[in-house]
Subunit: 371 residues, 2 copies
């Protein structure tokens, strides 16, 4: 424990970001938030810590056992570090901003923490940013959010993106309408999760296996969904998917997996994931959901979250600054150059040379010299 | 616990930042970090959580009992939330960046958490930013840091600033040289902390009471320090103070309290605090200190930390964006306007009006109209 070398070590799942990655992470977060702000999404900043029971009640993508918890020495209550910011934004919309006219557009960015990593990779602290539109789950609202997410990622330098669309309540919609089943719906869904046609057959839900085949690139998936659109029960879903495929088209290839539920347990009619070549795991995800109000009642909403660390690890945002060496006695010129956008690095002693201070340019008698 | 209204409440000392304050906090942090980056300080981003024993070993301004601690379910080790980032930057400089030539200039910004508030006010989570120069504690390095801190705060809109300078090891320097005392030095220092001339007399350290009178505006304080500069023991300290008074002069009035120690326990020869009219508590603080290396040995350093929340609470950084209403069907024009810097807010239905969406301008047939 007191071995001096071990003092430099961090707990499993936590890391230092060094230059230039720390700068890249900050730059990427800034770019993404600027894009979202330009669409009228206003920043909110909830705290890192809440009452455990308050977080658990509103949890969406995280489970209670994923929370980092501790007893507060002041209040003796159990507090928890937030595993996700979306639920906090829902709390704010439903309480302190309940009186603001809808649609309410909010943005956020900050660290989230979990006992076990949420995304691919070993990290337990992640930088999450996102946008939420509260008061609508109409496809126009979903298209706005999906479009902004892809636009923002493109502005951050991401290329070769793909979007997966899913319809989390599709099975329920079909079962309540044209495709009634006597077996428990959860069993049908589990069979679909396993792409298990034989199990569906055994459950007396053989027609649901056509949904397994409907997964794939948007063109073929939409054609198959249209073919099984018994008595028009899927009209609005198909129109919604077509709208979102068109929204994504300038930036991303689209696949549709109509019965994919994993990670979309709290989404209502539509969920989406964003992936990109060169980025491990999801770049982000979103969809429609319900915000619960403290007095009872629910409100429709749509939003997305993007994960900055995957982008940093993929090398995005890391443009090294040109460093300009300022010799002793030339500080007066440096202020003007900083105002022009230069990064200046001042010598403090004669031992400080441009090489030592990793500079690419130097000032010499007030003139800029490339080294 | 399950009262639905209480779900909106937060633990004591934690808060939501809403619009426009959340935006103001982000803008201020960005402005301050941009100013620091322009001087060649490279961003590092340590994690929110470390091993408790590692944080305690390097603690500077926080005490172990101030830490929010918990047992990690994965490692069964005690982890703690960082109460301060300076010590983490020291750890990085002494370990992963030990091989980089000095002076090493590093910057950081992020949340810190404590059991009890560190600053004035009830908040337990605060946004800290700062800069550290590792490898020198020369007055030239201190002047660079103090100058950057004041420049950055001025760029963030802060006016009417004042700087307090202190010499944390002054008593030790005098006692080792011209003013020997037989009483324990800690007792002399305690008497000075209490500005207690009678106690100094009783300790046989009467000449130290002149230091009490030396506190005040820089002109009179420097004159008094010069008068008691027995056999030149204070030559370098007086020259240092004069240099820093000149550095601060364009931005801030300077006072000197040569024996003030509170909060400067870990500083070596110089410490400074920044205050401003309209901001509760300290705006920031800094000074010289030692970075401990894991293999043994120490390295001189100088740095400062600024606290963003006080600036936000004082109303800085909160310039409301002009919101431009985009009616149904005019989305094509909106992209061009966003590229020009406008914040656009799209109607999703006919019910969405400029008033409802709190807009100041509107698009009408592709033309901008002020409302």
């Amino acid at each position: 424990m007191t071995d001096p070398i071990s003092k430099g070590l961090l707990p499993e799942g936590f890391r230092d970001r060094l230059p230039p990655q720390a700068e890249a992470a900050a730059d990427l977060l800034r770019t993404l938030l600027d894009q979202v702000s330009a669409h009228g999404y206003e920043r909110v900043s909830p705290p890192l810590v809440e009452f455990e029971d308050s977080l658990v009640t509103r949890l969406s993508s995280a489970r209670p056992q994923d929370l980092l918890r501790f007893v507060d020495p002041l209040s003796q209550r159990t507090l928890a570090l937030r595993p996700d910011i979306t639920a906090q934004v829902g709390r704010i919309a439903a309480t302190r901003m309940a009186h603001i006219a809808r649609p309410l557009r909010l943005a956020y960015g900050g660290p989230v923490l979990r006992v076990r990593p949420a995304q691919v990779g070993p990290q337990r602290e992640a930088m999450q940013m996102g946008a939420e539109l509260i008061g609508s789950d109409h496809v126009d609202a979903v298209a706005e959010l999906l479009g902004i997410a892809l636009e923002a990622l493109a502005a951050a330098g991401l290329a070769d993106m793909s979007v997966d669309l899913t319809l989390p309540d599709l099975v329920g919609t079909l079962a309540a309408g044209p495709w009634p089943v006597t077996a428990p719906l959860a069993d049908v869904q589990t069979a679909l999760d396993g792409k298990d046609a034989a199990a569906l057959q055994a459950l007396g839900a053989a027609q649901y296996s056509t949904l397994i085949e409907a997964a794939g690139p948007s063109d073929s998936a939409l054609a198959r969904l249209k073919a099984l659109n018994v008595s028009g029960a899927l009209n609005t879903r198909i129109a919604g998917l077509e709208r979102l495929v068109a929204t994504a088209a300038p930036h991303a290839a689209v696949t549709i997996d109509p019965t994919e539920r994993h990670g979309f347990e709290y989404q209502t009619w539509i969920g989406f994931s964003v992936f990109a070549a060169g980025v491990r795991g999801e770049v982000g995800r979103g969809g429609t959901y319900l915000v619960r109000h403290p007095g009872g009642g629910e409100e429709t909403a749509v939003g997305f979250s993007l994960y900055v660390d995957g982008l940093v690890d993929a090398g995005l945002g890391a443009s090294r600054r040109r460093r300009l060496f300022v010799p002793l006695g030339e500080a007066a010129h440096a202020a003007k150059l900083r105002a022009e956008g230069w990064t200046t690095v001042a010598a403090l002693t004669d031992a400080d040379t441009p090489t030592r201070l990793r500079c690419d340019y130097a000032l010499a008698n007030g003139e800029l010299v490339k080294l």
